[in-house]
Structures are given as structure tokens and as C-alpha cells.
């Protein structure tokens, strides 16, 4: 726990190597629980030391981007949700934001706050799954159960507001599909009260765990400059000391009104990555608390009948509403020709969505810049000349989601 200990290099001594210099090629994956999905790593080993890592991806490629070109805009939302399956609200927000930019549609303030609340809940959920599975990789099995207990509380909240636990389709172009139900605010407040105490417990479990500290400290350090060159963003970049967060840099939604901090690390090792993510959970709880207190009154979806479905109650009385409903459900709305790239800060980094519209009711191209895809390139730098056991730790702290990488 002393600072002196952290300065000791974890790179193996040259004479500590096996006597033979023959390289052994080992295939890790695609089906290994420690790869966090269907990731294959072709590793070249010299004794126990990693000399080369090549990630092979594409095992869960489902052609979502191509499928999106055949769907009208409002039907694309459930498709993009299923890319990064732990950050579905972020995928929705990236796509809806890009389409709103093309439509030049401003969403009402209440929708902005509701979106912010759900995005931050999703960030907590994503970080909890990361913490549980990563601690499991490093040998702390009990963390998994504790994290999944709190994750279920987040999913309960999602179920309450949208009816679904995962892949909720809650965000719509123009706002959110429904206002939050009665009782949601009270349960959210209770969650916000409890969550910091839970984070304290996680820290108590891991921060005094000798095995965890020894396996994460001074492992997988990549210089900040190199991370920027590789296009790495999110907690990995912040752990290396770069205070870059799109929520602060280019605030969208309600982030400009809220008070929160950007946690950064100093060393950039696995331990810093863990600390940054846990601190982000605390900040997310603060954001949710503020957004809930400041939740403005008003409509939850824009009053733009050419894009947004009319309220159900109007269908039986208003001919106009029925026509709009019919047009929107059958053909969908048309988006003026143009292209937009809209990026937000996802739990793993910059999540950008590029949408090209040709003026019809279906997008001509949807591309998602997934943070895991770019971040995975840093794995080589993290693992090179380290021990093979550290590779597992590096991969765990990298937090790749293969659904997002393969799309």
C-alpha cells in the first residue's frame, strides 16, 4: 500500500526468462470466460513473457449496420441498442442525437433530463458488470455477486420506466417514449442514497486485497501520448491522466447544468483504471441526484407531429392524429438529406454515430464508432513484454464489449 511499492517495475528481469528463446504461439479464445465475450487472442510467448498479441475479432458480427439501411429511422433504434449490449441507452442516444441533428429538432428540457438520468444509470450498470467480471478474472469471486445485486436494482428501475430490463427502446427521436411513472422518483432517490455506501463496500473489499493490488498495480501502463495516438478514449485515457470527457468538453443534454467532476488517474496502470471507474460511479450518482431534483416540468417528447407519434388518447377523436399515426407507423418520417456525426461519452469512451440520409425514410448509412473497437488496439501496448497472467488483468481493465466491437 505504500507509494514506494508502486514504483517497482513489474516488467520481468531479462535473466528471469526461460533459458530457451523459442517462441510459443498460444491461441486464447474465442470461448474463454476471461475474454469477456467472443474474443480470440493469438499470443506469442517466450517462456511466460508475452512477445506479441494479435486480437482476432468478428465472431459475433451480425451485420447490424447493413440491416439498419433497410429499416425506417424509428425501427433502427432497437437495432443499434443491441451493438454494445451493456450500454444500450448510450447507443440509442448516439443514434437519436444524430437523427435529431439531421432533423434540426430540439428536444424538450424534461426529455433532456430524463435521458441524462437514464444514461447515468446505464453507466453505473455498465461499470458494475465490468467490476464484477473483472474482479472475477483476478480471483475475487464474491465481487461478482455484490455487483450483480446492485445491477439488478438498476435494471428494476429500467423496468419501471420503460417496461424492459435490457434493450428498452426508451429513447425516441424527439424525446423519450413515456414519462417516468409514479413512484419512480422515490425508488431512484433510495437507490442514489444506497449506492455510495455500496461503492464504499466494494472499495473495502478490493482496496485491502493483497492479491488484487499486486495484480493491478504497475501493470499495463501505456503512456498518455501513445493512448491519444491510438484513439483510445474514456476511462482508459483518464486513468493515464488526460482529463478528457465529452460530457464536459461538448456538453449535450442536461450535462451543462449539472455539477460533476472528472476523475483522473496518475500512473495509468490497472489499479488507476479501477479507481477511475469506481469514482465515475460516485459521480454518476451525484448527477442522477441533481437531475432528479432539477427535473423540469413539461412534455417528455417534442411536439413535432411529422416525426413524433401522436398521443394515444387523440387517436379516437382526431382525424389528423390518426393520419399522422398511420403515416409514421407505415412509412416512417423522412429526414432531409445530409450527414451527421454525433458523439457522446459512453461508459467505455467516445461513442459516435454517423448517419447519412438521402432524403428517404430509411438511413443510407449508419456507422457506430464503438469505443471498444478503438480501445482494443491498445491491448498490444499494454501486454507487450509482460507476463501472460498480466494479459488477463489488462484485458479485464480494458473492458471490451465484443457486441460493440463486432456490431
Amino acid at each position: 500500500m505504500s507509494t514506494v511499492e508502486r514504483e517497482v517495475s513489474r516488467r520481468p528481469e531479462p535473466d528471469a526468462l526461460e533459458p530457451e528463446t523459442e517462441l510459443l504461439t498460444v491461441n486464447m479464445g474465442p470461448h474463454h470466460p476471461a475474454t469477456h465475450g467472443v474474443l480470440r487472442l493469438v499470443v506469442q510467448l517466450e517462456g511466460e513473457v508475452v512477445r506479441e498479441v494479435k486480437p482476432v475479432v468478428g465472431y459475433v458480427h451480425t451485420g447490424i449496420e447493413k440491416s439498419c439501411e433497410d429499416k425506417s429511422y424509428w425501427k433502427v433504434i432497437p437495432f443499434v441498442e443491441r451493438m454494445d449490449y451493456l450500454a444500450y441507452y448510450f447507443n440509442m442516444e448516439a443514434f437519436c442525437g444524430a437523427v435529431e441533428q439531421l432533423l434540426e429538432l430540439e428536444i424538450p428540457p424534461r426529455a433532456k433530463y430524463l435521458r441524462t438520468i437514464h444514461l447515468e444509470l446505464n453507466r453505473i450498470h455498465s461499470h458494475l458488470v465490468w467490476l464484477g467480471t473483472s474482479a472475477l478474472d483476478i480471483g475475487a469471486i464474491s465481487m461478482f455477486w455484490y455487483c450483480f445485486r446492485e445491477r439488478d436494482r438498476v435494471l428494476d428501475l429500467f423496468e419501471m420506466s420503460s417496461g424492459q430490463r435490457m434493450h428498452t427502446r426508451y429513447f425516441q427521436v424527439g424525446g423519450v417514449i413515456e414519462d417516468i411513472p409514479t413512484g419512480f422518483a422515490a425508488r431512484l432517490r433510495a437507490f442514489c442514497e444506497e449506492m455510495p455506501r455500496r461503492v464504499d463496500q466494494y472499495e473495502a473489499l478490493l482496496d485491502h486485497n493483497e492479491i488484487f493490488l499486486r495484480r493491478t498495480r504497475n501493470v499495463g501502463i501505456v503512456p498518455r501520448q501513445r493512448l491519444l495516438e491510438l484513439g483510445v478514449s474514456g476511462p482508459l485515457l483518464r486513468a493515464a491522466g488526460e482529463p478528457w470527457d465529452l460530457r464536459k468538453a461538448m456538453p449535450t443534454l442536461a450535462y451543462a447544468d449539472l455539477d460533476f467532476k472528472i476523475p483522473v488517474g496518475t500512473v495509468g496502470d490497472g489499479y488507476d483504471r479501477y479507481r477511475v471507474r469506481l469514482a465515475e460511479v460516485r459521480e454518476s450518482v451525484r448527477i442522477i441526484g441533481q437531475a432528479l431534483e432539477g427535473l423540469p416540468e413539461g412534455p417528455h417528447i417534442a411536439d413535432q407531429r411529422k416525426v413524433v407519434l401522436p398521443p394515444r388518447s387523440e387517436l379516437s377523436t382526431s382525424m389528423e392524429a390518426l393520419i399522422h399515426h398511420f403515416k409514421l407507423v407505415t412509412e416512417g418520417y423522412r429526414v432531409p438529406a445530409g450527414e451527421a456525426y454525433y458523439a457522446i461519452e459512453g461508459p467505455r469512451g467516445e461513442l459516435g454515430c454517423f448517419v447519412l440520409s438521402d432524403g428517404s425514410s430509411k438511413p443510407a448509412r449508419v456507422h457506430v464508432r464503438d469505443p471498444s473497437f478503438a480501445n482494443l488496439q491498445a491491448l498490444h501496448d499494454m501486454c507487450l513484454d509482460g507476463y501472460v497472467a498480466d494479459l488477463i488483468q489488462n484485458l479485464a481493465m480494458l473492458d471490451p464489449i465484443l457486441g460493440g466491437i463486432d456490431r
Binding site: V57, G58, H61, G63, E65, K66, S67, E69, D70, Q101, L102, E104, L228, E229, L230, G231, V232, W244, A249, M250, G338, E339, A340, Y341, A343, E350, G352, F354, L356, A364, R365, H367, R369, F373, A374, L376, Q377, D406, R407
Partner: protein, 200 residues
């Protein structure tokens, strides 16, 4: 994003540094884009990367869009980010399809048509080419491989240009607009006998 006058200033400065590299600019819905000559895309990217006061050092994404039936048809987009100034700029290089000019058969819509095999057999020559920016932005490696995988755009000088998401033996460029949706038969136990040779 730089505003519209800021974009024109950047264009003017690039014009002075390398005349003719920028073909056009567009400022649409608060997004700035430079449309550049595909042969000189590296000049433009290097200028944006290296010039003091510009520092577009972070490459968010490289992706491609097929503008069919427009000509030139492929647009390779570089989304650049200037972190100190918090600005984004898009560099767009439009590429035409060399297969379309020497006979329309090669660009046939049917993946099973003989034209596709001919296109494959013809090798890299029939594919559109552009310079790779991996030396400038090492993070572009995966993104360029993805563009190659989906659109068949060859990045000259890329260290390891292979398919990344699709299987290595896949033929065709599926995200092109003339590639049909739903062409892959899914194998189940009941239709295994009717698809002989699938395992080869």
C-alpha cells in the same frame, strides 16, 4: 466545430500549403467538412495534424459511405478532433469505383454473378485505392481494415490490410449499396443435406 468562417480560413491556409488539395468545403448543420482530393488526403491530414495552432491530433473514426448512384461514389470520412480547442472537423475523400468504368458487369448486384469472381480475380486493381494514414494516426489501423472489409477500399501502405469482422474467405463487399440484404443462407440440421459442400 469550427464555424463557417473558421472553416474557410483553414481551407485558405491549406490551399497555400498545398494548392489544389481541397476541392470543396461544406458547412451543414453546424458541422464542418473539408472535401479533398483523394490522392492528396495525406497532405491535408498531415497539415491538420502538424500545423501549430491546428492540432487535430485525435482521429475519432474513419468510416466510409456509399453514395450510389452519385459519382464518385465512395466517401471516406475522417472524423478529426482538436482537443485543446474542442473542435471537430470532417475530412472527406470521394473515390470513384474503377470496376464501374471497365464494364458494368463487375459491379453486378448479384453476389453469385460471375462478375464478382472476376472482380476478385482481378485482384486489387479493380478496387478503389487511397493512401493509408496509419503512420500519422496509428489508431486508424482497425478503422481502415473495417472500411476495407465492408467496402473493398484498399489503403495503400497499411501494415496489415486484411478483413477484420468478416471471415477471411468471404467474397464481396457487403456494405456497398448494390450488395443485397439477406443473401446468406443459414444452416440448420434440416437444410444441411440440401446445401452440400458448405463445410469445405
Amino acid at each position: 466545430m469550427p464555424d463557417a468562417p473558421g472553416l474557410e480560413l483553414i481551407r485558405q491556409q491549406i490551399d497555400e500549403a498545398s494548392p489544389g488539395a481541397i476541392l470543396d468545403t461544406s458547412f451543414d448543420r453546424r458541422q464542418a467538412a473539408l472535401i479533398c482530393d483523394p490522392e492528396r488526403v495525406l497532405d491535408v491530414l498531415r497539415w491538420l495534424h502538424d500545423t501549430p495552432g491546428q492540432e487535430y491530433r485525435f482521429l475519432s473514426s474513419v468510416h466510409c459511405a456509399d453514395y450510389l448512384p452519385a459519382e464518385p461514389r465512395f466517401g471516406v470520412h475522417y472524423e478529426l478532433l482538436n482537443m485543446p480547442r474542442i473542435e471537430r472537423i470532417r475530412v472527406k475523400a470521394m473515390l470513384s469505383d474503377p470496376a464501374a468504368s471497365n464494364g458494368g458487369a463487375a459491379a453486378s448486384a448479384d453476389p453469385a454473378a460471375p462478375g464478382r469472381e472476376a472482380e476478385e480475380a482481378a485482384g486489387m486493381g479493380a478496387l478503389p485505392e487511397i493512401d493509408s494514414c496509419v503512420e500519422l494516426f496509428p489508431g486508424a489501423e482497425f478503422h481502415e481494415r473495417e472500411v476495407y472489409d465492408f467496402f473493398g477500399i484498399v489503403f495503400r501502405g497499411h501494415p496489415d490490410l486484411r478483413r477484420i469482422l468478416l471471415p477471411e474467405d468471404y467474397t464481396g463487399w457487403p456494405l456497398r449499396r448494390d450488395f443485397p440484404i439477406g443473401g446468406e443462407p443459414v444452416l440448420f440440421t434440416h437444410n444441411e443435406p440440401s446445401s452440400p459442400g458448405w463445410f469445405e
